[in-house]
């Protein structure tokens, strides 16, 4: 990192701060009352913007009619949980949930199992073809949905895997596996190399070092990779919409769309379903969010 040299002319008088009596020095990172008020105002506004759409969805889900979203004022008088009861009892919600879980967990499992050793290898070893391999992993991150969709559709339909969980899992693995490998490389990079050296001195093979020493240490990293691939598979829309035909096999992402057809839009049920999906996922997200970003930008913050 190049530190730009600061040209330091005559000391610049700090603007908008009264110079006369020397006030008690504020610790760095603290501002005057006005600045603090402004910060609070901006943050509160931003929070409201972030929070409102979700809160609104929850509010609409309590209105019993499908057009309530157009005149929400009326919802106050007739609030009810009927929508939730209906979704849970009379729709395929649990089938969709099951499909979503099967597909996402399957993808996660394969993704993490297959990519862990690769993450370690690219973190610690330099072998001929290393750069090309890393480049290949990076390129798969930028695949637009469109690029694999048509060939995958043709290949899977020839194998009879359209409308099957396995087909969808295979498709998702094409993104989840390189993704996990990247994430885990970042995590392994943060584990000190001295540990490997100690293992080698004690006579472990590289694979032994990996399995016995590094893998147990890397559990949080594995968890992040697992969570990321789970979320990605859970929220994927394009492939799921196209490759699943039977409405009992829909994932939640596809099922939610099915409330709005050309002729009828059951928006009240849709809102309730959306809330039912959002609550557990967000709760889970909050449990792990601290680790998430370090996973993606781990190398970055070290410079």
């Amino acid at each position: 990192m190049s530190t730009p040299t600061l040209r330091t002319p005559a000391p610049v008088p700090p603007p908008a701060s009264p110079p006369a009596p020397p006030r008690p020095v504020r610790p760095r990172g603290e501002r005057g009352p006005l600045a603090r008020l402004a910060s609070h105002a901006v943050l509160a506004t931003a929070s409201a913007v972030a929070f409102f759409p979700v809160a609104w969805l929850v509010f609409l889900s309590l209105g019993p009619d499908k057009d309530d979203y157009l005149h929400p004022g009326g919802i106050w008088r007739k609030m009810t949980l009927d929508n939730y009861a209906f979704v849970l009892q009379h729709t395929a919600f649990f089938d969709w949930l099951k499909s979503s879980l099967i597909v996402s967990l399957g993808t996660t499992l394969i993704g993490v199992l297959v990519s862990a050793s690769t993450g370690y290898a690219v973190s610690r070893m330099r072998f001929p073809g290393y750069r090309r391999f890393m480049w290949a992993l990076l390129v798969t991150q930028m695949f637009p949905v469109a690029v694999l969709m048509v060939p995958m559709y043709q290949i899977l339909s020839r194998l009879g895997l359209i409308d099957s969980y396995l087909g969808l899992i295979l498709v998702y693995c094409s993104t989840a596996v390189p993704y996990c490998a990247w994430l885990m490389k970042g995590y392994f990079d943060t584990i000190p190399f001295e540990i490997d050296e100690a293992g080698r001195v004690d006579g472990l093979s590289p694979i032994g070092t990996f399995v016995r020493l590094i893998l147990p240490l890397a559990k949080p990293g594995l968890a992040v990779a697992a969570f990321y691939s789970f979320i990605t598979a859970f929220g994927e829309v394009a492939f799921a919409t196209t490759f699943l035909l039977d409405d009992r096999k829909y994932t939640l992402a596809v099922g939610l769309q099915s409330f709005v057809s050309e002729h009828d839009a059951q928006r009240h049920l849709m809102a309730a379903t959306a809330v039912l999906i959002a609550i557990p996922v967000s709760a889970f997200f909050y449990l792990v969010q601290r680790n998430l970003v370090t996973g993606l930008t781990a190398g970055g913050t070290k410079g």
């Binding site: 048509v150 060939p151 596996v177 390189p178 080698r200 394009a238 969010q289 930008t297 410079g303």
Partner: protein, 334 residues
């Protein structure tokens, strides 16, 4: 940047110097690196089978006139063999400079670029501003932080439907605008407003990631640098310009690249917000999807050709980006 260390080799007793000659070099390389190759083998196999093969097959399809009428298919018990034929690079020529190339490709291309630039700029700008605010000592900042991450925590396919309710003709957004005696645009019908709505929703979805990443970056900037700058009489703006921004460089370059890739490929927001109704607001990815799966007959060949073109655009962009970073002596974190 981590130093290249090779832990695979170890030091065997009587380690021999590599002998000349390609065969023994190959043997030596194999012996030296077989651990590495064994460990990357699973991913390499998956990449080969699930990515490379479909990609090659997709590329082959772009050289044909395959659509859903002439591809191999099964109707009842009858298997109908594929009848599409090889037509060379015609698909690409047709997309890039065919008679309707402007309406179909270039207009969407321009919009996609505009969409990506606008979204990433907004993501980064707002994300950085919020990260700076959250980086101060402030009462309740944990609370703000948790609320501000909310759009990231809820799955996109859920919130986009929420936005659709809000942006509908007499939904809450327009009701509010009407209450303030402002014009009430037709968010989901009029092209310009469709595009605005799409950028708005995507910005809402994407800011939290930027914010959290940049916040992580800010917290790793050495506090002593700020003190030194303050000693030297730098004001707040100068400290931001000369300490904060350089400190954030490597995080910034990474999240901007990821942001560009993700926004360029953003499928869910536009697809779920408009479905098939807004031909002018479709970005290239959703447009390619419509060609291949949203119409009858499905035009597989053209759709695949769009996919290959999109991938090419991204690869070219990333290569230039990396080279630009290298010239400015920066490294990508990923």
């Amino acid at each position: 940047m981590t130093v290249a260390i090779d832990r695979a080799t170890g030091k065997r007793r009587g380690d021999r110097a590599p002998r000349p000659g390609p065969v023994s070099r190959l043997k030596h390389g194999y012996r030296k690196h077989w651990y590495a190759y064994a460990m990357i083998a699973p991913v390499a196999v998956v990449l080969g089978v699930l990515v490379l093969y479909p990609l090659a097959y997709g590329f082959y399809l772009t050289l044909t006139d395959a659509n859903s009428l002439n591809s191999a298919r099964t109707i009842g018990v009858n298997e109908i063999a594929a009848t599409y034929k090889f037509i060379g690079l015609d698909n690409y020529a047709d997309i890039l400079w065919g008679p309707t190339a402007y309406d179909r490709f270039w207009s969407h291309f321009v919009w996609t670029i505009g969409w990506t630039a606008a979204c990433v700029a907004l993501h980064y700008g707002i994300g950085l501003a919020l990260a700076l605010l959250l980086d101060q000592k402030l009462r309740g900042r944990t609370f703000y932080r948790l609320v501000l991450i909310l759009p990231w925590a809820v799955p996109t396919f859920v919130t986009v439907f929420g936005w659709r309710f809000m942006l509908a003709d007499s939904g809450v957004v327009n009701s509010a605008l009407d209450f303030l005696h402002l014009p009430t645009p037709a968010w989901l019908e009029d092209t310009f407003w469709q595009r605005t709505a799409a950028i708005m929703v995507n910005t809402w979805c994407g800011v939290p990631f930027m914010m959290v990443s940049l916040l992580g970056g800010l917290q790793s900037v050495d506090g002593a640098l700020y003190e030194a700058a303050e000693m030297d009489g730098a004001n707040a703006w100068q400290r931001f310009r000369h300490v904060t921004l350089p400190g954030l460089r490597s995080v910034s370059s990474t999240v901007v690249l990821l942001g560009v890739i993700w926004t360029f490929n953003q499928f869910a927001v536009i697809f779920l917000l408009f479905g098939n109704t807004a031909p002018e607001a479709q970005i290239l990815v959703t447009w390619a999807y419509q060609l291949g799966f949203g119409q009858q007959p499905r035009d597989f060949a053209q759709s695949a050709a769009y996919g290959i073109l999109l991938l090419a655009i991204l690869i070219v962009f990333t290569s230039f980006y990396r080279r630009w970073l290298n010239r400015h002596e920066q490294q990508l974190a990923i």
